[in-house]
């Protein structure tokens, strides 16, 4: 006979689920609205999504307040883990989504935004990412990851161009492989320790002093490969440029930020204890991976002829740069990861939005791809403001002070210095110099070359509307005046990361 299970609702602490459930409820609401009266204008769905995300953000503020007061909160059979990492990363996820969703309000009509499913899937995806970061249960991470990924594949495919299908299928295949690796890695961990909670795994492994090191390494290899795919680390990066090229510029910008921060948080939870356990081999592998990802992605980016592909490689390189934080594994480096990513979100979303507003419906004669460098040649002549803003984003990405990313870079390199990784710090610095070249290339095209392709009208703003311009304005202000925000951000992040024990 099974004895009845008595659990008080109190101990379940269901409030921990609130931030994840809000987008789910919102998504269902959107579907219901469509059920009653279909064919609504996209602006309605955009605003509805914005409001839902706003509520989500408010719920996060609430849980941040709880964390600041009581520390880490567990809930729902201790599956949910609301610690500082979970809260900061959810802030990034939701804020970046808030900046992304108005990009649907374009001048030109793109048919994916006509479907309410787009917005519903988008909200489901956010909920998936939120689950992923707010737990240390390997199964729930998997569920969150797959919810989010499957929604994302669909969003890419909805862009409805030849290359979009290719991109979606490619991403899907790679994602499936990564999921396989992930589940296999988790399985080995479970077999070794009898647990699927990361902190349990850590304590069991530590208790028997890594007796089965061979199996641990097998598990780690699979996990590394899985996160390598998600974070587009070399050599698992091959899908990234194609997928970015196939999806719309706005979505590509989004993909370079949100899925990655979620994966970073999980990687941080998982690899942190492994690195500190003194499994020397893992440190070497991660070191090599970080350096190769940074350097090779930079070198590939040098030879791209399309701005979007260049930015894709640049985002790979930035991911490698940030992965160094997990390798270093100090409180400072983990805080640097979040600081870097927040500042990166503004700049990168801004630069992808600049591509988005210059998106033409049909390619003019002589232009090889949607966002080829040639298209931007001599832009300063036709629209100096757009050229200046784009140049600003490029300079920020290159890490030129005093723009946003510079502060992230400084803090990150400083954490490498503090953590005793001198050579790594130098490699990171020199990689920024290599990266300088391809960001400069776009500036050279915009400011120093004569126009190559004759456009009818101002190409830089063909797709612009007031909402899009607002987003660019926000990104621009964030990029220029990041300096003001760095100190409060740093204090907030450091406190949260430190109090979560990382």
């Amino acid at each position: 006979m099974l004895s009845p299970i008595n659990i008080s609702m109190e101990s379940l602490n269901l409030m921990t689920l609130a931030p994840m459930l809000i987008p789910v409820v919102g998504a269902l609401l959107i579907l219901i609205v469509d059920l009653f009266k279909s064919g609504q204008d996209k602006s309605m769905y955009v605003m509805l999504s914005l409001l839902i995300l706003g509520i989500d953000f408010a719920a996060l503020l609430e849980s941040a307040g709880v964390f600041a007061k009581d520390g880490t909160v567990m809930g729902v059979f201790d599956v949910m883990l609301i610690d500082g990492l979970a809260i900061i990363s959810q802030f990034i996820i939701v804020a970046a989504s808030i900046l992304f969703i108005p990009l649907a309000l374009t001048q030109k009509r793109f048919h994916e935004f006509a479907y309410p499913e787009f917005f519903a899937l988008f909200l489901f995806m956010i909920s998936g990412f939120q689950f992923m970061v707010a737990t240390d249960n390997l199964i729930l991470i998997f569920v969150g990851l797959e919810t989010a990924s499957l929604a994302l594949y669909t969003l890419i495919a909805m862009h409805n161009r030849d290359k979009s299908f290719e991109a979606a299928v490619k991403y899907f295949t790679m994602g499936a492989l990564a999921a396989g690796f992930y589940s296999f890695g988790s399985m080995v961990f479970y077999a070794l320790t009898g647990s699927i909670e990361i902190n349990q795994i850590a304590s069991v492994l530590a208790a028997n002093n890594y007796a089965d090191i061979g199996f641990v390494l097998v598990a780690v290899v699979f996990m590394l490969a899985s996160f390598g795919f998600k974070l587009s680390m070399v050599p698992f990066h091959t899908w990234t440029p194609d997928v970015y090229e196939g999806s719309s510029a706005a979505l590509a910008g989004y993909m370079s930020i949100v899925p990655k921060i979620a994966a970073f948080v999980v990687a941080m939870r998982l690899f942190e204890f492994l690195i500190h356990s003194g499994v020397i081999w893992l440190e070497v592998v991660l070191y090599v991976m970080v350096v190769v990802t940074m350097t090779m992605a930079n070198i590939w980016a040098l030879v791209q002829s399309d701005v979007k592909r260049m930015l894709a490689y640049s985002s790979i390189s930035h991911a490698g740069f940030v992965m160094a934080a997990i390798l270093i594994g100090t409180t400072q480096s983990n805080s640097a990861l979040f600081l870097y990513w927040i500042l990166f979100s503004f700049t990168n979303l801004g630069s992808f939005t600049m591509l988005w507003i210059s998106r033409q419906k049909n390619l003019p004669h002589g232009q090889s791809s949607d966002h080829s460098f040639d298209k931007f040649a001599g832009l300063v002549k036709t629209s100096p403001l757009a050229a200046s803003i784009m140049a600003l984003f490029m300079l920020s990405l290159a890490g030129l002070p005093p723009f946003a990313l510079f502060w992230g870079k400084v803090y990150m390199i400083s954490s490498a210095v503090t953590g005793g990784y001198t050579v790594l710090a130098l490699i990171m610095a020199l990689n920024s110099a290599i990266a300088g070249y391809y960001y400069l290339k776009l500036i050279v095209y915009m400011f120093m070359k004569e126009p190559i392709i004759i456009h009818d009208g101002d190409v830089s703003v063909t797709n612009a509307t007031l909402p899009l311009k607002t987003i660019i304005g926000v990104a621009t202000i964030g990029t220029i005046f990041a300096l003001v925000a760095v100190n409060p951000l740093l204090e907030f992040i450091t406190a949260f990361v430190y109090n979560s024990g990382y």
Partner: protein, 517 residues
């Protein structure tokens, strides 16, 4: 207002540049001139209010930027930075005033004003990160000036300029972060403030590594042999105004940073590297002088001679005594005036003939007597003729280094004589002999606008050559403090010996005065 005069000096040009977007392009030149005159007047006012007897920082301001990470906006001025800033304000002024017909003049002037902000900021900054911000930011306007208004290979030249300096500075940034980390280890607090760092005494091995890291950043900027290859391209392709600012001010950032950072922070390392760097400097002086002799293009001659003279500045700096360092700072100003003027003069002739090849000229002294006279004076100053501004600086620099090594100084001295040869040869090719080319027969002499820019430079060249004290005095006071600090901080026997003790000298004179009584 005087409490914030440094911030005003830094941000006034930037504000003016932003407002400049509104100004109509026909009035832009007047706007630019007016703004730069105000800026120059403010810098003169700073000189007037400056207390010559104080050796430390004056007019200091401090605003917290990122206190959690020890980054603060700290600015201050002392005798070392004062005159370079005045020079920067002065050259921006005459640079804008002498701008000839330039396309997109509005963009040019806005860029120049932004550039001025970064230049002034670098010399006032007393926080390493703030220094770094201005240092890096100065690359962008210069990149644009070379890339948008330059010669046929402008894009290659501008990108090369940017990447070279950018890469060097990033190594320097790692050095700065290390320095802050050592400070954190010593005190438990993050700080990037230079004056805090001055109090930190590092073990010699650390000093050596950090010195090398900073050296990359500074040496590429100066540029020292073998990192000098970007400069001839940049000068060759840059428009006149770009070359003038580059030679007169931007290169001085490197040599200034040596005095501000490398010497007081790492005195032992400075002594350790004294001779290697001195040898590099002498190679730089001789080698570039020889290269200059082989040039066909007058602008390249001036460019290489400018590099050559930067070698003397480095040599003076690494004499590590008061004469040498004061001399090198004075030479920075002198070099700024003279090479700036020479680039302006090359610009004058280029505007008329659209060529810079010396073989295209000849006998210009007959056609353009005023031009030939001014060029002659400036050339003599560049060669280091006594009673011109360069002579004072070169003499003091060499005198300083003579106390460290006789042979190396002698070599450098000979090299300067070699320097005279190429300059005189170039002058001969351009100005003497018969007028061979038909186009040169009717060249107009310098006009009023050009004279406005050139005559003040001639006056300064001669005035400070004859009576350098108003400038040399404050420099000397501040340099004494730096050398004293270095002597105090030095740990090795060698360093204590090489870096003279200043205070003791004063004590000796006091006792000797007593004895005299």
């Amino acid at each position: 207002m005087l409490d914030h005069i440094l911030s005003i000096l830094i941000f006034f040009p930037a504000l003016a540049a932003v407002l400049g977007f509104v100004v109509h392009k026909d009035s832009m030149r007047s706007y630019g001139v007016a703004v730069s005159i105000i800026e120059f007047a403010l810098s003169l006012w700073l000189w007037y209010a400056f207390d010559n007897s104080v050796s430390g920082m004056q007019f200091m301001e401090q605003v917290a930027l990122i206190p959690a990470f020890g980054i603060n906006y700290i600015v201050g001025v002392d005798g070392i930075s004062l005159f370079i800033v005045i020079l920067a304000a002065f050259f921006t002024m005459i640079g804008i005033a002498s701008l000839t017909d330039t396309k997109d003049i509005k963009n040019m002037i806005i860029t120049l004003l932004f550039l001025q902000m970064t230049m002034v900021g670098v010399f006032f900054a007393l926080d390493a990160i703030v220094f770094y911000v201005f240092w890096e930011l100065s690359l962008v306007p210069m990149l644009y000036i070379i890339g948008a208004w330059g010669g046929p290979r402008r894009i290659y030249a501008s990108v090369k300029f940017f990447l070279y300096t950018f890469a060097g500075s990033l190594v320097m940034l790692v050095g700065m972060l290390f320095m802050a980390y050592f400070y954190y280890q010593a005190t438990g607090q993050w700080s990037f403030a230079l004056l805090d760092w001055y109090r930190l005494i590092l073990p010699e091995t650390f000093q050596l590594w950090l010195f090398v890291a900073f050296f990359f950043g500074f040496a590429i900027k100066v540029p020292m042999f073998p990192f000098h290859t970007w400069l001839p391209y940049a000068h060759g392709q840059a428009p006149t105004i770009g070359s003038v600012i580059l030679a007169a001010i931007l290169l001085k950032m490197g040599t200034y940073a040596f005095i501000r950072f490398s010497l007081p922070l790492f005195p032992d390392a400075a002594v350790f590297f004294m001779f290697p760097i001195a040898i590099l400097a002498i190679i730089m002086i001789i080698y570039t002088a020889m290269v200059a002799y082989a040039q066909k293009d007058i602008k390249q001659v001036v460019a290489y001679s400018s590099v050559s003279h930067m070698g003397v500045i480095i040599l003076g700096t690494f004499a590590l005594n008061v004469e040498g360092i004061s001399g090198s700072i004075f030479l920075m100003i002198a070099h700024g005036v003279v090479s700036g003027a020479l680039f302006l003069l090359v610009g004058v002739i280029y505007d008329r003939r659209h060529t810079k090849l010396m073989s295209e000229f000849g006998g210009l002294a007959k056609v353009m007597p005023k031009f030939a006279t001014i060029f002659g004076i400036m050339m003599m100053a560049s060669v280091g003729l006594p009673l011109t501004i360069n002579f004072v600086g070169e003499f003091l620099s060499l005198l300083g280094f003579y106390q460290q090594s006789h042979i190396l100084t002698l070599l450098a001295g000979i090299a300067i004589i070699v320097g005279a040869i190429y300059m005189l040869a170039a002058y001969k090719k351009m100005f003497f002999g018969e007028v061979t080319k038909e186009e040169n027969k009717n060249l107009p002499d310098v006009n009023k606008r050009e004279l406005i820019a050139l005559v003040p430079l001639v006056i300064i060249t001669i005035w400070l050559g004859i009576y350098p004290k108003p400038v040399l005095g404050p420099i000397n006071t501040s340099v004494e403090a730096v050398v004293e600090l270095m002597h105090e901080k030095a740990q090795s026997e060698e360093a204590k010996k090489r870096i003279p003790k200043i205070v003791e000298d004063i004590v000796i004179t006091k006792t000797s005065m007593k004895e005299a009584h």
